[in-house]
Assembly symmetry: D2
């Protein structure tokens, strides 16, 4: 599996972000080699973002390896501060983070609700972990407890999933690295060195405050500059609508080129219930990746359905939809004018408008200061203080206000220049 050095206890994998990724447990190594995990090689980390940032073609496979690597670093840093973590817990925490994204479908978030009706990737990750647990003689029990926050040492779950988890630390750095957007660069090593545990919860030493502030800011900047980039949004809505149209045609029994597993999802409307009842669907899901979707879309460009072929050509030839963002609701006049243009250009019948017009709201929380999840600083006095209260420099409390924006999305040719 990957470029590995077999040493007594340690395997290393080349990684451009960290230089090397160390894998120190045989079980983790076996999980990486499992087809369920190997599938992630063909699931791009950032969906269609490479249409805007062409270097950002990295996949979930390396992201989850990277996060696992950081988990190892975090645990070693905590042990140096006399936090008690057994070898079994070390392994389990690494497994939990290795598999945290194993339930991601093609193009990661872009199609999260297009293939299934109401199933998110975390639900699927857990379902897959449970399958693997059986295959591996229940050696994933503790990892599952940590993943589902049923393990007493809460900080292990927090390292897997919280506002300061190794998942975010890896993805900010990795997405920055591959996109070339330096705004997301974060001092991971420093942050991890500042981790501590108080009452079984993860905290950060006071002197780490600047690094944490930087991390919050970097995350917000990456959201608006990359994750919620207008052009990427436009591409993703195109993709969503392609699947929506394809399903509709499938339901009308119109023939569509597709791999066998993609067919299964197109011709069935699957929900959590269907998954629970039928392992076949999960098995099918575990064979599905970006190549099934893209391979189909390339061919659907020549489909006889004009809507489907229009949408697919737009995506493949990168004639992406225009997206407008606004702090306030768009004026009806503006909206109506664009809709009118769509109808003029594409005709009134055939519900073109359902596929060419999208509106809605997007939102980003840089930092949530309520709930269990907030980031606590351990002051030199020993006192614990919420990050947004401790920060007098960067005004994190102001940053903690979520930013919401309205958007509309439509073919460029229908816009009001």
């Amino acid at each position: 599996m990957a470029n590995i050095s077999y040493t007594n206890k340690n395997k290393i994998i080349n990684d451009p972000v960290y230089g090397f990724i160390s894998i120190e447990h045989t079980l983790i190594f076996d999980l990486i080699g499992h087809p369920y995990y190997q599938r992630l090689r063909n699931v791009k980390q950032l969906g269609l973002t490479d249409l805007v940032y062409p270097g950002a073609v990295h996949n979930r496979f390396t992201h989850a390896l990277g996060a696992t690597h950081l988990m190892g670093k975090a645990i070693k840093a905590l042990r140096l501060k006399n936090v008690n973590i057994s070898d079994e817990e070390f392994e389990a925490a690494c497994i939990a983070v290795l598999l945290h994204d194993v339930g991601h479908g093609p193009y990661s978030h872009a199609l999260e609700y297009s293939l299934f009706d109401d199933v998110d990737h975390e639900y699927l990750s857990l379902a897959i972990m449970k399958k693997l647990n059986q295959e591996f003689d229940f050696r994933l029990n503790m990892a599952i407890d940590i993943f589902t926050d049923n393990y007493p040492k809460k900080f292990l779950h927090q390292l897997v999933s919280s506002q300061l988890d190794v998942d975010r630390l890896d993805y900010l750095k990795r997405d920055s690295f591959y996109s070339g957007v330096s705004e997301g660069v974060v001092g991971i090593d420093r942050i991890i060195k500042m981790f501590d545990v108080v009452d079984d919860r993860l905290v950060v030493e006071e002197k780490g405050i600047y690094s944490i502030e930087k991390f919050i800011v970097a995350r917000r900047l990456m959201y608006w500059q990359v994750y919620l980039h207008k052009t990427v949004l436009g591409a993703e809505y195109l993709l969503v609508n392609i699947l929506k149209r394809a399903r509709e045609l499938a339901e009308s029994d119109i023939k569509l080129f597709a791999s066998p597993v993609l067919k299964l999802f197109l011709y069935n409307r699957l929900s959590i219930e269907s998954l629970k009842d039928n392992d076949e669907f999960l098995e099918a899901f575990l064979r599905l990746d970006d190549s099934d979707i893209y391979g189909a879309i390339k061919i659907w460009r020549y489909h006889s359905d004009p809507i489907l072929s229009y949408l697919c050509s737009a995506l493949v030839e990168r004639k992406l939809f225009r997206v407008e963002l606004n702090k306030n609701k768009f004026e009806s006049k503006h909206i109506n004018q664009i809709k009118k243009n769509i109808r003029l250009k594409f005709g009134d019948q055939d519900n073109w408008i359902d596929y060419l017009w999208i509106d809605g709201k997007i939102r980003n929380d840089a930092y949530k200061h309520d709930g269990e999840d907030r980031i606590m600083l351990k002051m030199k006095s020993g006192e614990l203080v919420d990050l947004s209260l401790a920060s007098d420099n960067l005004n994190i409390s102001a940053l903690a206000e979520p930013v919401e924006k309205y958007f509309i999305c439509y073919p460029k040719s229908c816009g009001i220049n």
Copy 2:
């Protein structure tokens, strides 16, 4: 197209390797947006190398952009030394390098001779340039002259294709960057600043000698550590044999799942002649990318032909062939033992051995010091000296000896211990 800033004369695209890539000509910009070029997004630069270096998932799209960016830098550096280069030549040289790889098929070099009988990617690049030239009102004439070395200013062709071209400069740096193998890092900026032109040929200023030596060494190291990595070779031979088997089945009229364009190539044995006669084949080629191949292989795992399904499973599940390298020919005894194991394990009939055993030679020239192509240093005295003679430090003349190695390749389970 990509994350672009429309300024008066200049468009910029984010790139993790250089920070930014500048595109300064509208025609180039239009070529980038053309579907023929966009196709390269789905052609991995390093074929199956990411099975060993998991970060190396970059594509030909960004490589050719990067090389074009370096062409711009090289031309500006030469102009500062009073080398006469017109704006039209600037544009043409950039186009030549932008399109130099547009003829690459799926998985770049891995399948270069699997889809066609005797057509290499440079022939195809030229054919595609000619198609584009017609579409763009013959504005690619000069670019084609430069590409085919029919332009009087020979140095422009040398920048596109020689032992010190911008193609190599970009790929060494980019492949290092994405694979995480620091051995390939090269001081590109310094090399380009040392470029000069004498008698219409590209030369390097004497004081650039260390950078050039480093470049030759870096290239050799990248060959053995990445491009000819044993495990990558094993994967590529697996891929080649999958296509070979699929074609054979196709010729026997056995049904195979495949996209329409892939079918065309499987069911026809295409040669240069067929290409010349029939534009349909080139059109089909221009729709083919990695997703056609991988999408098919995933499904062929379940094909009823045991050889095909065996090979495809091995690739998808990353049970790659073992490769042994040797300076000398392998001993017959060793070879025979392995072949015997293959027959024992897979049976004697059905020509399994034709798909499970590969042998041959690989070779790497770090530097060729004969022919037009050699690198000439311009000494302070004005004299021109071949690199291998000028270099007294690194013994480039010793490096100039090509390295050849014998290899054998077979399923791990058939190896000896």
Copy 3:
């Protein structure tokens, strides 16, 4: 001068931050070679900061080169947007920024008001430019006009000195690089590409907003993490008090080891008036650098004056003063207790307390949104908007509030607990 390639129009100097620094004008090259500029090799950019960040030993020499390099990039970027800038203006703007810090004395800011009574480094820079102007046949006239903001194209002055000048861009990046504090990393290339000019003033294209926000945040983080680092402050106050004591002894005609030029400053209390009247003082200043100060302090450790030798030993042996920071005024009780400890430990006479106790306020403005100096964004509509109003993501308006902190500073041994 430095590792230079003499090409027709272009000289290059190796620089670890940018790879290369290009010097494109002969006059600039001659100025770099002048002893007044060479002196900056021995003036550390960050004074005593390397006592905390040991890598940060870089000097004003490379900073000013770096800023000049960025000026060249900025001018080229603006020319691409059809901003009219003549070659003479190009050269003059580069000279203005090259020499903007030439008036820095030993240890940069740390001793800014210790050597002279009321003269800051900008006054001295201008005085030195004027001297150089005479020496160079008044070829610095335009540079001086730009430096003093008497040149009609205001944006040239803004590039030299404003909230978004090339000085700040270089020092943030360079200080981050050498200190290893990644929080200051800024996307300089992107920022410069976003520069534009409207009505002779520098503006930033709307789409550069994220980079500018990041720049403001990075600057604030660098202030608190590096420039105003507690331990650095403690060291700098020690240095200031060493000079204060040495001067006092000098005024009492007590003998002190010192280089001739340092003696001149110790035994004379120089003000702007004295500078104006007497070129000798400026000449002396131009021979003074860090080595004069540090060379003296090493020897003063063994001086018979107990206060001077105490302070010098503390600095050389890195027994630095403790600094406490507080958002509010310190309580009198706390202050009195420490002062009492100082008196107990060092005795009541001899005004030890004047040298061992420092208090005051420090302040940092991340962004000033009033006055000429504010950063204006050029929206796609063409409208100009102040950064703090345009930024809805990062709440720059909240950041624009200056942060003030009270501090006290004293020997560790006199602290409480």
Copy 4:
């Protein structure tokens, strides 16, 4: 000491090369804080190299910290391969490398034989370690045994001093980093991961061969491009001759400005014997750093001795000597012409020529393949093979030939054309 986080067992120092340097032993921490070690802050790692590479102003202080950091990494890597290393040995090996350069005088190698007659920095390092050993209750015993190769586990000494020691690993990377010469970049992490121990000797796993080859090549390139750079050599000979002249004047009882400790060295000709007899000289040495030398030279520019003032002005104003390098001996005619020019220009008496003309040989061994010190590869078979035999790619055996060059050095104004 430096920017340190006091955690239970671990102190961290910011370092731009590695991000962080971890110090895990209290004794090491105390040694870093000792004035003998702090002195290294004022000893530049690369002497006068910053006259050519202006960024390269780093000091021995950070280099030795960096090497100590790598020692920690190496020991942890070896422990993962079941090499037995006790905590005491860990600490001792770190101390040995921390102090390996503590005997370096001003400007590192440049003045190594100018201050003492026949004493090198390793002798002095050992003498200082012994002094520290007494002060620290003989807790440095094992470190001294390792340093002097009297400890049974030979590999610990090899990590401190051999062709593949942590000293070289750090300095190649650090000198590359600060000079901006990317040719020296080396994959340190990978090399260290490949370390193993056989029969108490350090070996490298076979698969590390490419990294080791790159390391040898990088070292050779750094020698010719940085360490033996012509202009740097010219500056260093100037410095050596300044000291030579100053001593001569001192011996004639001519008065010279100098710090008290520099005076001691100028007015006494010290040898190993004198050091052994007299602790005062070692004490004096331990107060001497770059500032004593540079502080004096600045003032000697105005000395009445024309030779001394000429040489000092040349250095301070960067009017450096020209150096010519040649593979073969220089022709007498060429030499005589230059010498004649010197005599014409500077006069025949006064032995100017002894200070303005230098000739000699320089030499670089990229790899020595004889003796105890050679690098052994551990093949997969378990066999140990010398690097130069195992390497078929880069022809290390060819590189193993030392390169020698003749040089001459003289004032530019006396050159031919």
